[in-house]
Amino acid sequence: MITYHIKCFGVLSEIIGEQITIENNTKWSVEQLIKYLEKDYPKLKAIPVMVAQNDKLLDDSGILISGTLSMFPPFSGG
């Protein structure tokens, strides 16, 4: 079983919550994870989401192993 502990930042923490855990039978790519989350949180469809694991940013095709992930959008305020 693959377990993702996802920490959310910026507006994502307000939509999803500060931290959620997802379990799945297989490893997901970043794109698959975001698609999955969009079903439960449709507001995500309007937000650019970046995903990092072990403090390294992954692109959409990056494969996520069991463990902690960070999800954040670009900030724009100044």
Binding site: F9, F75, S76, G78
Partner: protein, 349 residues
Amino acid sequence: MINRYDRHIKLKSFGESGQQLLKESKVLVVGVGGLGCAALPYLVSSGVGTIGLMDADRVDKTNLQRQVLFSEEEIGLLKVYCAINRLSKLNTEVNLIPYTFDLIQENAEEIISQYDVILDCTDRFEARYLINDACTRQNKPWVFGALYKFEGQASVFNYKSGPTYRCLFPFNAKQQMLPSCSDIGVFAPAVGMVGVTQASEAIKVLLNLDQTLSGSLWCIDLLKMNTYTIEYTKNQEAIDQIKVSRYLGVEPSYHVIDLNTEINSKVYRYIDLRESHETPQISHKLVDALPLSSIEHKKVNWSQMGNVVLFCASGARARKLAEELKLSNVRFTDLGAEELCRKLIKHDA
């Protein structure tokens, strides 16, 4: 006589030569708002020789909470001159250059070419892509800072052939949907923290130090008092694209990205550009028929119409008109009439 920069000169990374390097350096601060007001005093007091300040705005009452270079009696005055007035008292040795206009496509490359490091102290994605692209073409480092409520992000781009802003945040039209500080608020000390970090990174870049935020996104949350950094890598393809692109920054987009979300979050009127013989006929309280062939003689005043979304059978006519009008309240969707109709009905249910 004691040198005013004595405490910097005593640091191994500075020395006399480092301080001299700062004196000979030129830094451009784009945006004299919250971030700019926090970064500028440290650039000035540290003795950066020439500093350009760019902002077209005037001081507003709601700026005073975080834009600490301005005073109550300066409300209504141009920010750039108020800031220069204050900063010139901090250090008379620094040459402060005012630009009371915005950085745009037409002036970006020429102005940026005159500086060694650029600080992005703006509050807009468009400005960041513009700074990024102009800096990438000129191999110029720039320091990014941005806020969301109590949280901040900062990084350094284009330093020693390092990654660019587009390597970290590829352009995504959804960015236009993210809320701004004026809508959601921002914690003043977070702005200060990020702005001061930008000044710190700029000085390190000018001193040619290796330990900077190049390739790392620094994130801080002042509510929870957490900091973390995310490493990212260079995307050579994106960089090559910037160098050959005819457009610097982001081309204006009038495309409605995702109607599923936007139908829920915004109130639009939907303008049916199809001719009267085209089917299916749509009757819905949010839809107005305005056949393309009738627009010219009706003398439509688009800017007075509120937020509208143009549509037609395939989106082609809608796109063409939206791009001709170039108005922020007039957008288009490439959903055909049938699909749009289904979505509106589904939304009503």
